[in-house]
Symmetry: C2
Subunit: 364 residues, 2 copies
């Protein structure tokens, strides 16, 4: 079992990573002093619930906890204000009170949605993440929670730190291959922004990761979470440094939107976006290997590096204008200066970005 | 002009109270470093907007600010998730970015609603309160923002401190009489929980307050805000002390709900609730004058002290079960021990409260 701490003063919390952790969930809840009188509200999705919800519920109830559950349809469309409202209604009907906790059992969708319910319900109650995807090593750490609006992703949200993150590697075994690859994109991102040795390690162990080797996965998630933890501890509310976590995301979010949030996975979109950032980096003076290594590692992880040609460049550019990172007319871009190092560029011109979008359609 | 500061470390902010302040609003915005590039989003309601919105907009535009506006229907029903969503949509369409601010121009409804928009939009942008009711001296200070759910009031919300509170006493001149009285209920509350001399002062100046005498109003709002500021500074997130601000609110909120949020004003409901608390206080050992003074001062301010008989006691008790202050089976009540002093009682029995509800139907 690996453990690390997100250091945020009186909002600090641990991340537990290990195989078979769910068997001991009740004792972890005991350790964290969760209430046995107030109901716990587990939110999961239609793919994850049949696999793991009965076990989680059973273990908690055996430990003396009161559990109520809600299952939302799987997929990004559940990260909506309508679904949020529905969960608030269920929470009220179940009698959740200020000592209750909301527990997200699932990937980033369930984490962001349930987390926003926890942030908003009675202006904030306790929140626990049980991530079941690789991508969620990213989404479950850092306290960002949100739902989408038809006009923009993650636009309605809060900062609400969890009480703990509880990662049972065993749950990852049932992940569809495409989700595995997509999740690895954020792992690669954490290497690219912070840790050149970790990038080399991924380069060498991509096969094991794709094969869901428990030891390799545990290490990769531990390292990925550690990078995120280091960044978030220094800048909880994204005043500055935290923006580096957006490597590949300005283009990536635009691609997801223009592809109607169904054609491209989040990880696939940011994989393409990270290649775009690497191109921009090299244009601005980074060594050529930044582009080469970025592209190679992503491809080793089975990720796309080419922007689908049928996605309209004008629409992509337009989508970027709605992005939170579009500040007072300047585009803010995270640009690699070396492998493991990035800088925040606050005056990226739209023309330059447009040229890169065009170029990404020819990658391969 | 009176000024006081809400002391919350790096989230501290000033409250400005004076007549004719709106004329100088642009210079205050300059002082606070608001962006002239990013749009300001003024939210008002259908009663307030025709009276004051053109002036606010004009003064800000003359000062070089970009202004977009939204007007919601007046009344508590605008504090809904549907209205919240509509405002988020308008904010997106207007291109609000991370340097934008949301400005609430109106009473507590607009303050709570617009404040929650500011809290949620991009996970939180700047927020400014321009209260135009007496009650809003309470709602605009302390950072609580929220919308209602059909099953419970203020259940969906956040803590989001404003950047400043900007109180122009001139706006209060157009307040309907019933709103004046209702607002005074929170002024009285601030005296009752904290400051016996202030209660005496209200007792002696109720007539002037009801006549909207600017000097008396300015003093009363300054004192009321000061009490709230003192409490909130010591306990921003309602872990303990801040609960005393709920004097009269457990019963009050239940009454509002059972009266379908239309028969009773918030201030009227908590006026009745405060008499209920005084009865409980005397039963638990406070001097008889606690009941007498509480009742007299509220009546001098033109407020009701009798619970309308047709409101069903069972429904009132049921509504209290949904209240945020209902914690793990115990009812939390704020109970006066003297005029200007209260204590937090965490084990109030439902039977005792029921008896007081019945008794309140016979007050007068
Ligand atoms: N809050 C943050 O900081 C942050 C960071 C990155 C991404 N995100 C968000 O995360 C979301 C994407 O997360 P995701 O990729 O985990 O998506 P997801 O939650 O939709 O999960 C992907 C798919 O895998 C299924 N699934 C999950 N666990 C499974 C398992 N163990 N076995 C089988 N199937 C399983 C899900 O049902 C879903 O169909 C996006 O909404 C994104 O905005 C948030
Ligand atoms: N956030 C908090 O800490 C807090 C505290 C107390 C109350 N509240 C909330 O405040 C709300 C009640 O506030 P309120 O009493 O100000 O209600 P309100 O905003 O509905 O205003 C009352 C009425 O007066 C009208 N009005 C406002 N200003 C006017 C003016 N200057 N001239 C003429 N008409 C005017 C409004 O249109 C409305 O019809 C409730 O929703 C309550 O939950 C919040
Ligand atoms: Zn991401
Ligand atoms: Zn109140």
């Amino acid at each position: 079992m690996r453990e690390l701490t997100i250091d945020l003063g009186d909002r600090s919390y641990p991340i537990y990573i290990g195989e078979g952790l769910l068997d001991q969930i009740a004792s972890y809840f005991d350790k964290h002093g969760l209430s046995k009188k107030s109901p716990l509200f587990i939110v999961s999705d239609s793919n994850v619930a049949p696999r793991f919800l009965p076990k989680v519920q059973q273990k908690l109830e055996e430990g003396g906890y009161r559990v109520v559950t809600a299952v939302v349809p799987s997929g990004e469309s559940s990260k909506s204000l309508a679904q949020f409202e529905q969960l608030i209604t269920e929470a009220l009907q179940a009698g959740l009170d200020r000592n209750s906790a909301v527990i997200a059992l699932g990937g980033g969708v369930v984490g962001d949605l349930a987390g926003y319910v926890a942030a908003a319900y009675m202006r904030g109650i306790r929140f626990i993440q049980i991530p079941t995807t690789i991508l969620a090593h990213d989404s479950s750490v850092g306290g960002k929670v949100a739902v989408n609006h038809p006009l923009a992703k993650n636009i309605i949200g809060a900062f609400h730190q969890p009480e703990m993150v509880f990662y049972d590697l065993a749950t990852l075994q049932t992940l569809p291959e495409r989700e595995v690859k997509s999740g690895l994109a954020e792992v690669v991102k954490h290497g690219l922004i912070w840790d050149t040795e970790f990038v080399d390690w991924i380069d060498a162990h991509a096969d094991k990761l794709l094969a869901l080797d428990a030891e390799a996965l545990g290490y990769a998630l531990y390292k990925g979470c550690s990078v995120k933890a280091a960044v978030v501890s220094q800048d909880e509310r994204e005043n500055d440094l935290r923006a580096i976590l957006n490597l590949g995301h300005t283009i990536g979010h635009a691609l997801e939107a223009v592809a109607n949030y169904n054609e491209l996975q989040h990880g696939e979109a940011i994989s393409i976006g990270m290649v775009g950032s690497a191109i921009l980096g090299v244009e601005l003076g980074a060594p050529q290997e930044v582009y080469e290594v970025t592209k190679r590692v992503l491809q080793r992880c089975g990720l796309p590096v080419r922007l689908p040609e049928h996605l309209d460049t004008d629409e992509i550019m337009e989508a970027m204008m709605h992005d939170k990172k579009f500040k007072e007319g300047h585009m803010v871009y995270i640009i690699p200066t070396a492998i493991g190092k990035v800088e925040i560029n606050k005056a990226m011109s739209a023309e330059r970005v447009r040229a890169v979008v065009e170029q990404l359609k020819k990658e391969g």
